[in-house]
Amino acid sequence: MWARTRSLLRVTAVRLSIAYTLAFGVLAVILVFYMTGSAVDYLRQQFQNSINEEVLSLQQVYQTRGLNGLIRAMEQRSRAPGANLYLVADPSGNIIAGNVRTIDSSVLAKTGWNMHPFEYQGFGDNETQRETRAVARSFELPNGMRILIGQDIGEPERLRGTVRRALSFSLGMMLLVGFLIWYFVGRRALKRIDMVSKSTERILAGDQSERLPVTGVNDEFDRLSRRMNVMLDRISHLDKGLRNVSDSIAHDLKTPLTRLRNKADAALSSDLVNSKSREALGEVMADADQLIKTFNALLMISRVEAGSQITQLAELDMTELTQDVAELYEPVCEEERFTLNIEIASGLRVNGSRELLSQALTNLLDNAIKYGKTENAEDQQISIILCKNKKEVVVAVSDKGQGIAAEHFEKVKERFTRLDESRSLPGNGLGLALVDAIVKLHNGKFELGDAKPGLLAKITLPEFETHQKVKSTPNASKSG
């Protein structure tokens, strides 16, 4: 689950929508706070206005009817339903009249506006009832008595509370729904991307008929896939053209070569040739054969690199393959006075082509026989090892000869590379290039190393797994 979430987070659409939602959420919070804030400001303004009006009319009462008249008027007003707050207190702070039972003395002591909401208890209220909040304006009369006129703000406060509760609820819902949408949308996007990358992998492996999936929804994935498919069509068209050209070259150039060789062959078997021309003709044939072999090897490499044999890859018993090749070479090794070391683990399987992997192994053994010679024939040794390393199958061929300097390890895998030491020996410098191409076709690794002394050639191939023809992308398929 966690792995899946992590891979979901790697989807651009999901990342973007998370970023958008966060930005939108923050904006919404700011907006609502601003709106409720300004509504509260407006209400306060309203309170102030109504308190001011009240103050004005009470001032008139005070001026015309004196203190008693004022107190009476306040008593009267405070009894009206939904009345404002009225309070008259003596200079020591004792409440004389009004509809307030208790109030914080600091509120009362402060002259002027008390816009910071304070708590009080009114007469009408039940004694156990919680105190409500109000804003007020208070004055000190010339005789030291204090009056306070205020307004209860419980109602707008509750309103604000409701609005903010509604806001947090809707924000929560938004996040939840948003998360669900990302999850499903993102998972779908991820699925499409997985499909595309699986197709791409098959194409890379050489299946040129494979195309990216188009679901028909005509969304951005479909449009992208269609464009890419057009591109792939074009690439495979060009590739086919190229292969046709190389096939034609092979056809056209190898035919005269055949003729050359066969004429030399025919001349050799005629009775007219003397021993000298017989020798020359033999050399012509050998040279022609060498040319043909080079041509074949070169064509073979190009074709393997183009992955044209992908249809041949199937479950393959690597143990049997290695045993067969070892058995094929055993007599030759004996004749060339090599000690042959064979360590073949049983039951190893890969996804591969018997023909190609046999050829790769054969090339390595040909090389070992050619370059693995030592001055003292008793030291001559060739090892063929097949073993399993974690999820990989490793085939290694090593000898005790001169080996190759480490700086040439990569170079000798290129076409026509022949190191100075080997120029005197027959060969075309294509053997290891072909091995490299074959191993690449099998998604494997081909490494050269120092066998101390001698050369170690190691082929690492992914082990065959049932139900797994193409490597799936990590994480996505393994969670659960």
Binding site: D247, A250, H251, K254, T255, L257, T258, R259, R261, N262, K263, D265, A266, L268, M285, A288, I292, K293, N296, L299, M300, R303, S308, Q309, T311, Q312, D324, E327, L328, Y329, P331, V332, E335, S353, R354, E355, L356, S358, Q359, T362, N363, L365, D366, I369, K370, P426, G427, G431
Partner: protein, 227 residues
């Protein structure tokens, strides 16, 4: 043997026809796929030699048409393409053998001789006898002149193939294909060494050698002169 050569390269075809004539065969020529198809339909041949790339109708289509019509004359496809999948395609289209150009004429000749004999469905003989050499496929025993010869499994198959084609030249490539099922040539002379091992087992104690090396071509197993 009556042989039809379908090849668009006139010079190569002429050379092939001449060489086949010298080898005692009776070759006919067709320069394109349509002509080849017509000729193969109208007269009986022992073997067809068909180039893969041909004008008008390619070799594979020509062969599969013939096969569809019930004509199963043994055929060998010649091609510049030598990949395994090409070979498989060629054999599926009705070719009985597949030879990559350029080939040595001796290789082609050896294959034709064997192909023409293969025409009969391969009877599963349990006992192969060549001269005083006997090979029992059931008990997997080989004897020469009543003396048991100890053979490795692969040597057994090698001898079996040689005996099956006794009297015919068998090439190294054919041995690699038939005995080891490899369609490439290793650079080292692995086959020679296998054959010489086998030779030392079957010929060592006998005055008359049976397994001969044909220079530039391959090997030949035949009965000694006393039979």
């Amino acid at each position: 043997m009556k042989i039809l050569i379908v090849e668009d390269d006139a010079e190569a075809a002429a050379y092939l026809a001449k060489a086949l004539k010298e080898a005692g065969h009776n070759p006919d020529l067709a320069a394109d796929g349509e002509t080849g198809l017509e000729m193969a339909r109208s007269s009986a041949f022992d073997v067809l030699i068909v180039d893969r790339m041909l004008p008008k109708r390619d070799g594979l289509s020509m062969l599969s048409t013939l096969r569809d019509e019930g004509n199963d004359t043994p055929s060998i496809i010649l091609s510049a393409l030598g990949q395994v999948d090409d070979r498989v395609k060629g054999l599926r289209s009705g070719g009985d053998d597949y030879l990559t150009k350029p080939y040595a004429f001796s290789e082609l000749l050896a294959r034709i001789e064997i192909l023409a004999r293969r025409k009969k469905p391969e009877e599963a003989e349990t006992l192969l006898v060549v001269g005083d050499l006997r090979l029992d496929r059931l008990s997997r025993e080989a004897k020469r002149d009543g003396k048991k010869i100890l053979l490795q499994p692969r040597e057994f198959r090698l001898l079996e193939f040689l005996m099956r084609n006794a009297g015919k030249v068998v090439t190294r490539t054919m041995l690699l294909e038939e005995v080891w099922d490899y369609h490439f040539d290793p650079q080292t002379n692995v086959i020679d060494v296998h054959v010489s091992r086998l030779r030392s087992k079957i010929d060592k104690d006998f005055a008359e050698p049976m397994l001969h090396t044909i220079r530039g071509a391959g090997y030949l197993l035949r009965a000694g002169q006393e039979t």
